[in-house]
Symmetry: C2
Subunit: 146 residues, 2 copies
């Protein structure tokens, strides 16, 4: 039985995030001390490690919720978990494809930007004129870098 700070350190998940996971029902409400502080067990640590890893893999919390409910019932067929992973794989592959196109376009922009002033800067120019690139503008998906 250990407090939230130790759980945070052990899993690499920040303290407020752990409380947030409890709030949205991904983690069970833990026992408390006489002074109302959370006390966690090894079982919760493992559950949180599971969540952390799935997040690292890019699973949205809803998919993780699903996976957790599956793993809570180990006798059930694996097909559902398999389906989730398969969907996730397809999404990841699509993302890679899209980002590869972006990367190539950014590289092209930078390759050709050898001028000194904005007026002749390819970066600005390419961004301002769609015809100068081969990028697919059908995609509406937003990426969230940095």
């Amino acid at each position: 039985m250990f407090p939230i700070g130790r759980l945070a350190k052990a899993t690499g998940v920040k303290v407020p995030t752990i409380r947030y996971y409890e709030q949205i029902g991904l983690l069970p409400a833990p026992e408390r001390t006489a002074g109302n502080q959370r006390l966690y067990t090894q079982a919760t640590l493992e559950r949180l490690a599971f969540i952390r890893h799935a997040r690292d893999l890019g699973f949205p919390l809803e998919a993780i919720r699903e996976l957790l409910s599956l793993s809570d019932d180990p006798a059930r067929p694996c097909a559902a978990a398999d389906e989730i992973a398969r969907r996730q794989l397809a999404a990841v592959e699509a993302r890679i494809a899209r980002l590869t196109v972006l990367r190539d376009e950014l590289r092209r922009m930078l390759d050709h930007c050898a001028s000194d002033t904005i007026a002749a800067c390819r970066v600005i120019e390419v961004l301002g004129d769609h015809r100068l690139c081969a990028h697919d503008h059908g995609a509406t998906e937003a990426d969230h870098p940095t």
Copy 2:
């Protein structure tokens, strides 16, 4: 001079998004009709096309704001715009690398998930135990696919 709907159609940016861009100061407040409806010019269309394209390339709005202020001053050196694009390229490359690891792990998971029940399913197992994969857990960045 045309209304917001035509601007939306021409650029592929949704109407509420255009109003949002105006609200946060990315687009100038346009003229209005007697009845208070927005009227746009070709110049705004081009500015919005620029924004749209940069968003497609994954630039965050703050970077776009910077790029726009650069392009308003064509005599200035290009290095700043170049820097922004270079940072963006680095971010995209990092994302691709990360997603590639993820993809490989998902593939491995699915390859090994030939069993019938959760109990023997690698999907759950791999997600539950960090030692079963080669993924870098130093990264805290979250991906948000689908």
